[in-house]
């Protein structure tokens, strides 16, 4: 079962992504609003599911702007005194914010709720704390949270360490080249419809049909940030990197379900949980770091992980250097004359790529690929198994990956969540693009 519109959207996405990378370091920085003082409002608005359906939400907003799903990503520097003023514009019940991981948050204004102080329509409540621990955090409503989190009142907060913008924590091993947010949430359409039409609802029967990364369903996850046709879902989730780079993933479980997030391509190293370094003691570095290819992000948890990829030890030259040889390969499984590690003058003329794994240099591609008519081509396949390569494809097939990137699906491995309200594919899914290094 194929979804043609998905393919068309993917075309746009990958073309745009590719072009952006040429023009600059797109997506390397997580968009958000900068503190330490934030004037947030809570208001009703509308988002679009990956199938185009408009859905009522309650969202946090930056001042007088529209409500967002998720709320604005709050960017804070370590040791700042953070002040968050929250005004309830039109949510018909008291709203609030809780900040898991922050200690000693002071709340003033509004009225006392079960967990924290909260604001009814027209009221403002203020939360103050010191951003003492750098890291990745979640914020969400602490009022009637089984409904209000479902309705969209959540967001991410990033506290940047004193060590610098390219570090996740005050530890040299937390260095990254590019960073992306992976905020996971779900949506039970019945509850939103009930709120929209003033009907009764029961949050204990929670049964979501949409799953989101940074507030978007695939394939919208791969659109640009701030595209005008998703005015209340400004954040994309389109990780891109080059071999040898360090990509920081900031995982957040913002909904009510646990999601086993799986990265194709390689393991990642988990460096922090709940905004605390995986460290046995101060000064020990990240000595409790774990490598994994999946992280079961539970509601309320955050994880930071560093993903690296060089394609080492594939056993063949992924840059296709063997293609530059004078003579054609003698077959699928070449004889010794075709494997030339000693440098007979042929391979030596082929420059090593940055971060290339030297022992694989020049090793031939190990198998014959089937004839084109025996294959179904992915829309992001460009006809070549090589990074930065390009090959002939039948008309209308593949080719939406002009840079010859290696593309890997990153997704919830609860595969049901790769759907948008009964339509596959979609949901809690995006792709990592590993781009070839550009020759100057």
């Amino acid at each position: 079962m194929n979804n043609t519109s998905y393919k068309t959207r993917a075309l746009l996405v990958f073309l745009t992504a590719g072009l952006c990378l040429i023009s600059g370091n797109a997506g390397a920085e997580i968009p958000g609003i900068t503190g330490p003082t934030f004037n947030l409002s809570a208001r009703a608005d509308c988002i679009y599911g990956g199938d185009g359906l408009g859905i009522l939400i309650w969202g946090y907003a930056d001042g007088d702007n529209r409500g967002q799903y998720p709320g604005p990503t709050l960017l804070v520097a370590e040791d700042q005194t953070v002040v968050i003023n929250l005004t309830n514009i039109d949510i018909p019940e008291p709203v609030s914010i809780v900040f898991p991981g922050q200690v000693g948050v002071q709340a003033t204004g509004g009225a006392a709720g079960v967990i924290t102080r909260e604001a009814s329509i027209g009221e403002t409540v203020t939360y103050t704390f010191t951003a003492s621990e750098p890291g990745t955090y979640l914020y969400n409503s602490g009022s009637h949270a089984d409904l209000q989190v479902e309705m969209g009142l959540f967001g991410a907060m990033i506290i940047r360490p004193a060590m610098g913008q390219q570090y996740a924590y005050n530890d040299a091993q937390s260095y990254f080249d590019v960073e992306y947010l992976f905020l996971m949430s779900e949506l039970d359409l019945r509850i939103h419809d009930a709120i929209a039409f003033g009907q009764p609802y029961d949050t204990s029967t929670f049964f979501p049909v949409y799953w989101f990364l940074n507030g978007r369903n695939a394939p919208d996850t791969m659109e640009e940030n701030f595209v005008p046709w998703l005015p209340t879902q400004p954040y994309n989730c389109m990780p891109m990197m080059m071999p040898g780079q360090k990509l920081l993933c900031r995982f957040i479980g913002a909904g009510r379900q646990s999601h086993p997030f799986h990265t194709h391509g390689n393991h990642f190293a988990i460096i922090a949980r709940d905004g605390r370094l995986m460290s046995s003691a101060p000064g020990s570095g990240i000595d409790l770091m774990e490598k994994a290819f999946s992280v079961g992000t539970a509601p309320g948890q955050t994880y930071d992980a560093i993903f690296e990829w060089t394609g080492e030890k594939l056993g063949w030259d992924m840059y296709g250097h063997q293609q530059d040889r004078d003579e054609a390969p003698t077959g699928n499984f070449p004889g010794p004359e075709d494997i030339d590690h000693d440098g007979d003058g042929v391979f030596d003329e082929v420059m090593m790529e940055m971060h290339e794994y030297e022992p694989d240099h020049g090793k031939p591609f190990p198998v014959d690929l089937p004839q084109n008519q025996d294959l179904t081509f992915g829309e992001m396949y460009n006809g070549s198994p090589f990074l930065g390569g390009e090959g002939l494809l039948p008309p209308g097939q593949g080719g939406f990956n002009p840079m010859g990137a290696f593309v890997y699906m990153w997704h919830s491995h609860t595969e049901k969540e790769l759907t948008n309200n009964d339509i596959f594919p979609g949901g809690l899914m995006t792709h990592l693009m590993i781009m070839p290094h550009m020759m100057p």
């Binding site: 570095g285 999946s294 079961g296 060089t310 992915g378 759907t419």
Partner: protein
Amino acid sequence: MKVQRYKNAHLILLSVLMMTWPVMAAVHVQCPGDIDGDAVIDVPDPFHPSNACLHLGAGDGFSIMADGTEMYTFGFSNLTGVPPEMAMHHGMMAAQIPAPTIEVEEGDEFYLSLTNVGMMMRPDLFDPHTVHFHGFPQAASIFDGMPGASIAINMGASLTYYYNIVEPGTYIYHCHVEATEHMQMGMLGNLYVNPAQNNLPDGTDLNGFIHHTGYTYAYNDGDGTSYYDVGYPLQFSGFDRIFHEKHLAVQPLPFAEMADTYSMINGRGYPDTLLPADDPSRPYQPVTSLIEATVGQKILLRLSNLSTTDFFTIRVLGLPMRVIGKDAKLLRGPTGADLTYNTSSITMGGGETNDVIIDTTGAAAGTYFLYTTNLNFLSNDAEDYGGIMTEIRLN
């Protein structure tokens, strides 16, 4: 045998399918050293001294649930050793649940040929298939099996994947085409890589742990942490009865309503989990989950979850669990910190693997239990006393 009746359908459907195949399509196994195309090495190739080959078929079939219900499935079958001209015949309606277990050795060059034998019961479908070697480190997208980023094989043809096996551990594999559907339908299997440490010379001192020939480990631990006497892969998954029924009835598939009702270990619900391997009553579910050991032995459980809908928490009652690996990595920090830990339950989402060692030293002989603490899954759909449960029998 119930399943047998569908075999008659093969021949009719086969002839229909044959007409739709492209002219060039053919079963084509690639395996250095294999002369006759059956993925069995006939004359070792001196340039590929340690290669391993496997030929999988991808198609459909039927499995029998523990309550006796017959369930339409997609799955893989093992065609290794089958002459290429017979591969389609052997592969059709032979979907195994779980897929044939893949066990390879660190250092292997692994050539995995996948032949799409078509879906006999759904002649309206022309789905391609892939193999996703889930967790393969430093993967290249061409062999990753993710159809959007690379290629998938059409009916009647073969695609050979190449994996340079350099990292030992517990992985999994599955088809990634229309992943929600194909995985719900059963295209899931156990896959693990044995470490080079198994092959050390007798008497090698591993930091005080003396290795002997025949000793087995889960990882290259350097100290015997992952030593085990008997090992069992246990893969947790589930089927949504309605999804499978609608699939067979060529109805729109209920993605939003998907909820697994048969929870299983290695493709069987309790008490079928206890049936021996290759039990004739379950011809397409050959993997047993009955764990047998002798008191004093160490049992390695290679746990994985490939449910498309649920996390599972897995418990062993009466015996201690020590978690030594996760996601095909020994639990050890970058500076050597020992991150292994004792527990009596472990939680896994889809796509996660864990290695657990049960040290039976000092335990009484007898029967112990492994089951999910998500107790509502101790059921086979509407039947009680089923689902994710098996026994550990100590002699």
